[in-house]
Symmetry: C2
Subunit: 523 residues, 2 copies
């Protein structure tokens, strides 16, 4: 009888065998490549074996504080070994890691920590001033706080290096990332072990790298593009992550060369900085094989300059959102020139389609809302059941983006769904009108919104920041648009402003612009 | 109130968005590559779009028979479009597909169908005689039978081509494959959608192929190596599967050339047939990039010949078992020569370790039982709870193989656990003694077993088939071993036999050999 009982595996033993757990990614790579460098962080280099052991220690230490399954550990840190140790320790301990978006204002961060019910806060020593401002607000759930350096190191050293083995469900939450809130307050996105692991495998597929791949991690790790789209694929392949805190073009160039970087994901403006630096502009970096970019397509001239700098690299755009981590679509190498204006095609585990407002899928070539299916979808927004349900309709995840899909499966973005203007029975993409306004040499920035209008329903309205010193007037700019746009797409009015309302991470807040000018056409 | 209800997704809608389903692999590839050829089967070529539509139709048709979630559909067919249509239709309909192992004898097949409780049997027309023998036995669960050709085509044509959308759990069973039973009756291995999808992603990682990869599928699809290790990775990459029914070297060579095959998995003896064919031996096939092999390592001379035939290919061994589909380890290209005698290193989603009999993990270099962890593990054996539990102990899946892992993570197989002989306090790998016996020029085949012995516990015993015409005797062969093996490893007796007991698929049944000679040392 006793023998029968010992032969039968416990729920934990069974779980350890079959589960999908982000912490296991590190364990497998540490088995295979114990001596390979996993992370380069300034002068510090962390081998996989040591990474693995320290994650076990930190996981034990966090559980030793009395945390329960799925409790939240927030981390306020720039890209660093400490942030990744915390993330994988939480993953292995069944806790939820919430890397704080450092682009948010202290009051917003405090709001997020309260919303998350964070039990622990780990703070990078260099950010202790910001942390003080954050902690000036009440965060009742917070029971423990550790600062990187001696305090954090002691926490790790205090605990056992034995393998940390607790039960973890495939769909348990591993991370909580707050969106920066272009349309509302920040939303906490809950993402599962399964979603992140699928993101890792799917992201590793186009790397063709095998072991030894090296990536530059210059964008913040608190975004899913890095945390799930770069860290996981590289670790699955046993590669090396070279971290920087912010983007400085000469430092990036030095690291690309000294570490032999193969892969990076940058924003278009960062490529601009690399190309604009007189010390770098004629240099070439032959190790780079994938120079990826996010946010928006770049013109061919800019792409040609990037290719000249990285002569052995594919230069491809990836696009995604925190809610469907990290990339729903990516340009295939064979499309990097011919379809450079697209978002690329669906990634390996994502289905992409276009839907009308009645929930019907539309055939190739027709415009509608981009919708997705796949295991990389979030579990939901934290504490926002209505918002969670709102994006899960008709059996698809709703992106809020309007696009069409061409005969090669490439996705042509047209506008944010909320920014499409319905004017006199026509739908107009605000982006197209913005592009026309931006083409005027005296326009520094332009946002196009639809404002309530007694005749048109919504009237297309250009909100414009002039270049310094420009005396550009409404009539001139209207005339500029009149010869370039179809009549129904031309703005009905232009409003000049000094600056735009923006989120902490610098994204335009169109809902506030709409609000500020909503009475523009009222009699 | 009503609006609130319609806004809330049903369980099915939510499932469609987030699930892991083998049927969705096909849907994604059909979206991206509708016109690419998915399957080449003789003169027939099936495009992804048509594959996808026919799978929906067949799935609807199967459910239209009144089948319930997780009911079993058995398929008796050689490699064919029909087999793959059935597999993906079951996957999408939430049914379990059981491709029948055609190496089994009719009575064994009937046993498997009874064990599976199969509701439907789909039979290839050319196998109708075998099917008649199978169906001569009672299979009470079987309610429907379809033969390929007009009957099967009519079944498909009868149903709707609308997308088939039913709820499917990540861990629902998608396939039931029977092992060929080297140690017992066949065991039905239940494998989940998650396991097969992970197998697909993991298998696609080393292909570096991107879209357009073409694979030769010459081994039977009723084994996991093809069904999960070739079909899934290729379909994830939008590649083409070139099917053959059995292996005929000139046909294989013709297809490799005409279809531009990049990948294949063959048994060592099939490479032998390719190399031995006078019409082929000086030919070279430049499109091949991965010439994989299964079962056992090959000597360097044979590898050199294969490299000469496939000059642009990596020649690598993959190893696995149905219970942990399909490959737990695979040689990395950089090891194809230096570690050609190993099983390679762990695959991307598998953790491999070595354990002693007390459940302790052993350090690198020490011998013990190979144990695995990872989501590719089976759900369990059908109707065999004790056997299922027996291989899930101490938080690891027990492979029954004895091996050691070297400093590069490469796995050196030593013996099947059950074939390790415990003799006078020493453990001896039967494989090592067999290798010594086989080295004698007059030995055709050798099996080494431990038999009950009053003094030694188990006595190492050689069971040998002589070459035709040989008069080799026990004393000569004992002397041959005596100078080549340590004393405790040398056989205590040699028994000559005419032939060995084998399974339907030709594997040696050592348990029967042990049984036949168990009284060898009894006084």
């Amino acid at each position: 009888m006793l023998e029968q009982e010992t032969a039968s595996p416990s729920a934990l033993e069974r779980n350890l065998i079959e589960r999908v757990c982000v912490g296991d990614v590190l364990a497998r790579s540490a088995d295979l490549h114990p001596d390979r460098v996993a992370i380069v962080d300034g002068p510090r280099r962390l081998r996989y074996a040591d990474f693995d052991r320290q994650v076990d220690r930190l996981g034990h230490a966090l559980l030793g504080l009395g945390l329960a399954r799925q409790d939240v550990v927030a981390v306020m840190a720039r890209n660093s070994i400490e942030l990744l140790l915390s993330y994988f320790a939480c993953a292995r301990a069944g806790l939820v890691c919430a890397p704080v978006n450092l682009g948010l204002r202290p009051a917003e961060i405090a709001w997020c920590l309260r919303d998350a019910g964070a039990r622990v806060l780990i703070v990078e020593a260099a950010l202790s001033d910001t942390a003080r401002s954050v902690l000036a607000e009440a965060i009742p759930s917070l029971a423990h706080r550790f600062q990187t350096g001696d305090e954090f190191d002691a926490l790790i050293a205090s605990a056992s290096p034995e393998p940390l083995e607790v039960e973890i469900g495939d769909r348990d939450v591993v991370q909580l990332l707050y969106t920066s809130g272009t349309t509302s307050t920040p939303k906490g996105v809950l993402t599962s072990h399964l979603a992140v692991t699928m993101a890792g495998l799917s992201g590793a597929l186009p790397l063709h790298g095998g072991p030894g791949y090296t990536a530059l991690v210059a964008l913040p790790l608190f975004h899913c593009a890095m945390l799930n789209g770069t860290v996981l694929p590289l670790m699955i392949l046993g590669g090396t992550l070279v971290l920087t805190q912010g983007f400085e073009p000469r430092q990036a160039a030095t690291l690309i060369e000294s570490e032999g970087v193969h892969l990076m994901v940058l924003l278009p403006m960062m490529y601009g900085l690399l190309l604009a630096d007189p010390a770098l502009r004629r240099r070439s970096f032959p190790t780079m094989r994938r120079a990826m970019y996010a946010m928006a397509p770049m013109p061919h001239e800019r792409l040609a300059d990037i290719h000249a700098m990285f002569p052995n690299a594919d230069v491809v755009l990836a696009s995604g959102q925190t809610e469907f981590t990290p990339a729903t679509c990516m340009q295939r190498p064979e499309h990097q020139w011919s379809k450079s204006a697209t978002w690329g095609t669906a990634t390996a585990m994502t289905r992409v389609a276009v839907m009308d407002e009645q929930g019907r899928l539309l055939p190739r070539g027709q415009s509608g809302e981009l919708v997705y299916r796949g295991p990389q979808v979030m579990n939901g927004y934290l504490n926002m059941p209505d918002e969670s349900l709102a994006c899960l309709r008709h059996g698809w995840f709703h992106s809020g983006d309007v696009a069409r899909i061409d005969e090669d499966g490439a996705i042509w973005f047209e506008d944010r769904f909320k920014d499409v203007i319905k004017t006199g029975g026509e739908n107009v993409a605000s982006v197209e009108v913005e592009r026309c306004l931006m083409a005027h040499p005296e326009v520094a920035e332009a946002a196009v919104v639809g404002l309530p209008h007694p005749h048109w329903g919504e009237a297309i309205t250009g909100v414009v920041v002039r270049r310094p010193g420009s005396g550009l007037d409404e009539a001139t700019l209207m005339a500029h648009c009149g010869v370039r746009l179809a009549g129904f797409k031309a703005p009905k009015a232009i409003v000049f402003v000094a600056e735009f309302p923006r989120t902490g991470t610098g994204k335009l807040q169109k809902h506030l612009i709409r609000d500020q000018h909503k009475d523009c056409y009222q009699p």
